[in-house]
């Protein structure tokens, strides 16, 4: 199978504290991979390693390799700025840029990434991105509204549209629904399943039901280690590791 990302022996530390221990996994292209585990298992740290979001965190360091397009993102003179255009991210708290309209929020990535674009090209990209994020029908007449005036679920979809506008290959999502109500969560989940036709999606979640609903593959983390990774069906019907079984049956964690 075609892999969008290959992680080999990834370790990570905050100061002296090791938070990831020898993680090795392949992330299949155009699929949804969920990373689940109890709080503090390193799942968020892990996906932030995939687009080098930790670069600015003082005291953070990694060892091991993460291959994207055949190149190790930590050594082969990869510019993290260019990497992040290819590996986008959606955060736990919807974070549309304050003091920017819906339109500007979606256009902002393109506006600042160097290439000059005409107003109409920009409008096309914004429309396309909002459509993909299932937001166009609701907002096509309100593009000048401030992004922060939307509902929580709409804000999160706006953030997804914003990430899609720079045309990434991979979308990392760090608990994208944990700040949303069930209906908004369901819409985001649906959206994730739709987007997986075109994008590789890695979702961190502490909600196993959600992991079951949306994922093709599920990785279970515990105390910084990857305990088990398999298809969602396998993990949720017959996990190989006893600790996975205990976690998903609610016996601990």
């Amino acid at each position: 199978m075609d892999n969008a990302l290959q992680v080999k022996d990834l370790c990570a530390w905050f100061g002296e504290h090791q938070v990831l221990k020898n993680i090795t996994m392949d992330i299949r292209r155009n699929s949804v991979t969920s990373v689940m585990g109890p709080s503090g298992c390193g799942k968020s740290t892990f996906i932030r390693c995939l687009n080098r979001m930790h670069d600015l965190t003082p005291g953070f360091r990694v060892s091991g390799e993460v291959f994207f397009d055949g190149r190790n993102i930590y050594t082969d003179r990869i510019d993290p700025v260019l990497l992040r255009r290819k590996v986008g991210m959606v955060f736990q708290q919807p974070n549309p840029f304050p003091r920017m309209s819906v339109f500007e929020n979606v256009a902002v990535g393109l506006k600042f990434n160097g290439k000059k674009r005409s107003r109409s090209e920009m409008a096309d990209v914004v429309e396309k991105s909002l459509r993909m994020a299932a937001l166009w029908d609701e907002l096509s007449d309100h593009l000048d509204r401030p992004g922060t005036s939307l509902s929580g679920g709409q804000q999160q979809r706006l953030c997804i549209a914003r990430a899609l506008a720079v045309e990434p290959e991979i979308l990392l999502m760090d608990e994208p629904c944990s700040a949303l109500d069930p209906t908004s969560s369901a819409r985001i989940e649906d959206l994730i399943e739709d987007l997986s036709d075109k994008y590789t999606i890695v979702v961190v979640t502490h909600n196993m039901q959600q992991a079951g609903r949306i994922s093709d593959s599920v990785a279970f983390f515990l105390l910084g280690e990857l305990i088990e990774m398999d298809t969602a069906a396998k993990i949720f019907t017959n996990p190989a590791d006893k600790r996975t079984e205990e976690y998903i049956t609610g016996r601990f964690g």
Binding site: D190, Q209, G212, R213, A233, F236, T237
Partner: protein, 220 residues
């Protein structure tokens, strides 16, 4: 919303229907082979059974997966439990059809005891019940399910009638005992098929109304 989930439920429903169609056809062909004395038809029935067995496994797997990954609730949960139980009944119907072909294997090598009249009638009613029960399942039509359950009595009566009739043959001519017993078994298998169709109807009623009517002699 929840489009992907609905698609999975739709696929499951479709598999159950395909399996229902197969076992109905198996029943039909097995009885037809017997009535028209065409031994080559029996192979076809056995071939269909492999497909049915595969679907039996696939449907169970799909149900377990949906339960594990989607956490169905309320109507969806009843639908999936119904699908699982119907799956078992359909597989048993397939087995009964195979049992009929086994009796036919023997019956078609010997001269007929008598022209077959009641057995094809039983088969027709049983197939109709099966078809209606699946219709009721697909459309959530519990009235049709109730109606279908009532037809089971006709099949039971026909079975008794076949038995009594064959008993007279056996008493008058001991040479027909083996063949007559084989025919009694066929009618017994058809009666079982109708029973499974009844079970399916009971599952449909539970699925649509959340009401368990099994083991109660009071039907409205």
């Amino acid at each position: 919303m929840k489009r992907h989930y609905s698609k999975e439920l739709g696929a499951l429903r479709e598999m159950v229907l395909r399996m229902g169609g197969l076992v109905e056809r198996m029943t039909h062909r097995a009885v037809q082979a017997l009535v028209e004395r065409k031994i080559e038809m029996l192979a076809e029935v056995k071939a269909m059974e492999t497909q049915v067995n595969r679907l039996h496994v696939d449907i169970d797997e799909a149900c377990i997966q949906i339960i594990a990954l989607r956490q169905p609730t309320a109507a969806d949960l009843r639908f999936i439990t119904a699908a699982m139980k119907i799956n078992t009944d359909l597989e048993r119907i397939g087995d009964q059809a195979i049992n009929i072909t086994e009796s036919a294997d023997f019956l078609l090598t010997v001269p007929p005891v008598k022209p077959l009249i009641d057995i094809p009638r039983m088969a027709d009613i049983a197939k109709e019940m099966l078809r209606d029960s699946l219709d009721a399942f697909v459309n959530g039509n519990e009235l049709l399910a109730y109606e279908t359950i009532r037809k089971d009595d006709q099949v039971d009566q026909l079975k008794d009638q076949v038995f009594r009739e064959l008993l007279t043959y056996m008493m008058s001519d001991a040479g027909t005992i083996e063949r007559s017993l084989a025919l009694v078994l066929v009618s017994r298998h058809l009666e079982r098929i109708a029973d499974h169709a009844t079970n399916i109807c009971e599952d449909v009623i539970f699925m649509t109304k959340g009401k368990d009517i099994r083991h109660q002699d009071l039907l409205p």
